[in-house]
């Protein structure tokens, strides 16, 4: 049985741009901003990077395809550079590739950078993409909110929760993210909202209203990973270690086979199960100190709390309303504002989550710093509940 990557790789440095409507910056500028912060943080030279992965999910026409946008923007030496794409889980996919490269011994220092420049599309929401020429002949062109709205309906039906009660718990999730982002200078949306404003917002896809949905942003985030020995050589006495990165992808079982009831995300459960095993986590509710999950929609965060085993099935609305996941709660979630308010530049989001956990573990999170953070989790979800890619990562300190 594979022993996993636990503690084989550490983060030497990270960077993250201001997220938002970056009319001032193209994808090249965003990549350079994130990279320069990470490089300075790591105390490394550009020439020490031996391999790089670029995560960019949606915007071929802007960022461009292949590895070249990264290599050109950063003027990397002629090292192996690869572009990865796995929908909204792209950022974690880039980090996974760089981590595996170091863990395998193929290289000592690797770069993972995620970027998305969506606001040049000229409209809100994610661009529509082809699902493949054959699938386009029959598959609906549903929007992302439309896909996740169905999770809300199925969750309410399974747990017999009244629509208005679920809506209030969902509103609390969005309210919390707006509260948290007010303390984050790099966040896209920093304005606090009232619960009533969230509940009464116009519907986007029933029952998701405007404030149940994250927007889309421009931004980039970056990690430089290396071995524990090299990190110590750089003077990092207590570096952030990667405890686990696990991924799970749908094979059509949810959307084409007759068993799934639509009320949960199977891939999150599977990725979490394997990540906990890889990281040696026996009880995530007590072992974890902070989480950054894929709150593309309020209902996604709510259901994810159960899929990660942090709330009992059917209990997440109660835990949410009790403040369990607020910044002062037992296990803060999205203390940086999350996708909802920090922003969602798709290819960068998985690395942005890691960035916040990284800062918290190093005690560098400023006004939003938690007093005790030894273990943090990120959850990065791509696709739709019925057809998804889920990544769960765990970060901590070397054993």
């Amino acid at each position: 049985m594979a022993s996993g990557i636990r503690d084989r790789v550490v983060i030497a440095g990270m960077g993250c741009t201001l997220f938002g409507e970056r009319w001032d910056a193209g994808p090249d500028v965003l990549m350079v901003e994130a990279f320069e912060e990470a490089l300075a943080d790591a105390g490394l030279e550009r020439g020490q990077i031996e391999a790089a992965w670029l995560g960019s999910a949606l915007d071929d026409v802007n960022v461009g395809n292949s590895a070249l946008p990264l290599a050109f923007s950063l003027r990397l030496p002629p090292i192996p550079v690869t572009r990865v794409e796995n929908m909204c889980a792209t950022g974690t996919e880039a980090l996974r590739a760089a981590t595996y490269a170091v863990a395998s011994g193929a290289c000592d220092v690797a770069l993972a950078l995620g970027v998305e420049k969506l606001k040049d599309t000229g409209y809100g929401g994610l661009p529509l993409r082809t699902k493949g020429l054959a699938n386009d002949l029959w598959m609906p062109y549903g929007s992302a909110p439309g896909s996740f709205a169905q999770l809300a309906g199925a969750y309410a039906a399974r747990h017999r929760i009244k629509a208005e009660d679920l809506k209030r718990a969902m509103a609390h999730i969005s309210w919390k993210s707006h509260q948290n982002a007010a303390n984050n200078a790099k966040a896209h949306l920093r304005k606090e909202l009232t619960i009533d404003a969230i509940i009464n917002a116009p519907l986007i896809a029933d029952p998701l209203g405007l404030f149940d949905c994250c927007g889309v942003s421009d931004g980039a985030a970056c990690a430089i990973v290396t071995t524990p020995d090299i990190a110590r050589g750089l003077g990092k006495t207590n570096p952030v270690a990667i405890k686990a990165i696990q991924l799970s992808a749908s094979n059509g079982w949810e959307s084409q086979y007759g068993e799934w009831d639509g009320s949960y995300v199977r891939n999150t459960r599977e990725a979490a199960r394997r990540a906990y095993r890889e990281a040696g986590i026996a009880n995530p509710r007590t072992d974890l100190d902070i989480t950054e999950v894929h709150d593309c929609f309020s209902i996604t965060e709510l259901v994810t709390m159960e899929d990660l085993g942090l709330s009992d099935e059917g209990r997440a609305p109660i835990d949410v309303l009790d403040g369990a996941y607020d910044r002062s709660g037992r296990l803060p979630c999205q203390i940086d504002g999350g996708l909802k308010c920090f922003g969602h530049p798709v290819g960068a989001s998985g690395l942005r989550m890691a960035y916040e956990v990284y800062l918290q573990l190093l005690g560098r999170a400023g006004a939003r710093q938690r007093t005790k953070v030894d273990l943090g989790l990120t959850h990065n979800l791509g696709g739709a509940p019925y057809s998804s890619v889920a990544a769960v990562s765990v970060f901590g300190r070397l054993d």
Partner: protein, 479 residues
């Protein structure tokens, strides 16, 4: 020659009906005249002559065997394709054998009745399916935009059936009451009194006299007439001139749905066969560039009330601007989200077209049904490549597993409904929903499948088709 019968008929209207009075009120400022009573049927953005004809054909074929089918004829003056044979697509929609004889007919709105007459007088053995659909363009403000409607109808001709042909007469006259052309796709109509007078004197009256003579009856012995009127009042003048006494069911269709073009007479025939007792004589006329006139004798009543029920159910609306958008008279700027590339690949269509057009899934070796068929089945049983047994999902019972009303994505007639549909046979398919204007389906609702336009590539003038889930029933129209 063996006697030929109309064996069964089918009728279909889109769910939307425009209230003519309120629509004409929106144009009152202009002083332009048009019909102000009744309703006209309005095709959804994803319906065209082919889809509506297909729904009528499904109705005509319901519960019947297709083993004896020899020929499929598609009739329309508004076919979505000029060069791409609709009757061939119809074989795939209905999953009929690809060796059947196929033919598209057009040229005037009598083409469906002409095809029916040929089938009824043909000496060849085997059944013939005649399907008609119409979604004709009209210009905003033209009286025809409220006088016409969208819909489909179908008839099957066989050696046995519910109506026997007693007589037939064709009369061909180049009467230009309306015309359309590539240079003018919307119809141009001549002066109404001229049309009425000449249509009766030169076309209809002589034809009715001849067909009654061929049938061996007097016009006064006709029990039910289906005579499409090129302009209102035509039948009244004809009736007085030739001694007809029968009511004209065409006027019922005209009032409740509008003139359905090539599908109009077949729709009226469906109404007649649903209501007539055995022995009744039906006068059926297809009008345009002359006419084809038939006298049929009802041998036995047609089972079911599909045509009457179709007329009586739907969703009424009065928004003239929405109507103009649906009919293409108003080109709304839907913004950047509507600019998605819709190009379809001919080679992909060649590989998957018959299965997708016919909604054919497959049963794998473990017994699980899925759509579409894939190299490795989705069933959790050990994934091995194997032979599929075809399973047509078009008529399979199904329910809503999940659904949402999506207000973000572009659709030409918002909002957009989509979700997972669970078939009783085990198949599960992510689908679009249609006909949800009265009430959005909810989880657990039974749904039926409707053949619809999937996407329209306006840049290249191409469209693709697939199936959408619709509520099982439609609301009854008031009034």
């Amino acid at each position: 020659m063996a006697e030929r019968y109309v064996k069964s008929v089918g009728a279909y209207l889109p769910i939307l009906r425009l209230e003519r009075q309120q629509a004409s009120a929106a144009m009152r400022w202009s002083g332009l005249a048009g019909p102000r009573t009744g309703r006209r049927s309005v095709a959804g953005w994803d319906e065209d002559a082919l889809t509506m004809a297909a729904e009528a054909a499904r109705q005509a074929l319901a519960g019947d065997t297709v083993d004896n089918l020899r020929c499929v004829t598609f009739a329309s003056t508004s076919a979505p394709f000029i060069e791409r044979q609709q009757s061939v697509l119809m074989l795939d929609v209905l999953q009929l054998d690809r060796s059947l004889s196929t033919l598209d007919v057009s040229g005037s709105r009598r083409c469906a009745v002409s095809a029916l007459a040929r089938a009824l007088t043909s000496g060849e053995a085997g059944d013939e399916l005649i399907v008609a659909g119409e979604r004709r363009r009209t210009a905003a403000g033209n009286p025809l935009e409220l006088a016409w409607g969208d819909g489909g109808a179908a008839a099957i001709v066989s050696e046995r059936g519910c109506a026997r042909l007693l007589g037939h007469h064709s009369r061909n006259v180049d009467l230009v009451d309306i015309y359309s052309s590539p240079e003018r796709p919307a119809p141009y109509q001549s002066e109404e009194r001229f049309i009425r007078d000449v249509a009766v004197s030169e076309v209809l009256a002589p034809a009715v006299a001849e067909v009654c003579a061929a049938a061996g009856i007097e016009p006064g012995e006709i029990d039910v007439a289906v005579v499409p009127e090129p302009v209102t009042g035509t039948y009244r003048v004809l009736k007085a001139k030739v001694g007809l006494k029968a009511a004209n069911l065409s006027e019922v269709v005209q009032a409740k749905s509008g003139d359905l073009g090539a599908a109009h007479a077949l729709f009226g025939l469906a109404l007649a066969l649903e209501s007539c007792a055995p022995g009744a004589k039906v006068l059926l006329v297809g009008f345009g560039s002359g006419c084809d006139a038939l006298v049929l004798e009802v041998a036995r009543p047609l089972a079911g009330q599909n045509a009457n029920a179709t007329l009586a159910t739907g969703v009424s609306f009065a928004d003239y601007v929405r109507f103009l958008s649906l009919t293409g008279s108003l080109d709304i700027d839907w913004g950047p989200r509507s600019e998605t590339e819709q190009k379809a690949s001919a080679s992909v269509l060649a590989r998957h077209g018959r299965d997708f057009t016919g909604f054919v899934g497959g049963r794998d070796a473990s017994g699980n049904v899925q759509f579409p068929k894939t190299p490795v089945p989705v069933s959790p049983e050990p994934g091995i490549r194997g032979a599929w047994q075809d399973v047509v999902l078009a008529d399979a019972p199904a329910k809503v597993l999940s659904i949402t009303t999506d207000r973000l994505n572009f659709t030409p007639d918002p909002p957009f409904h989509f979700g997972l549909v669970q078939f009783d046979n085990g198949a599960r398919v992510l689908m679009e929903f249609c006909d949800s204007q009265a009430r959005s389906p909810v989880v657990g609702d039974p749904v039926r499948m409707r053949f619809r336009v999937k996407s329209i590539d306006r840049k290249r003038g191409f469209r693709t088709y697939f199936w959408k889930a619709a509520p099982m029933t439609r609301p009854v129209l008031e009034g």
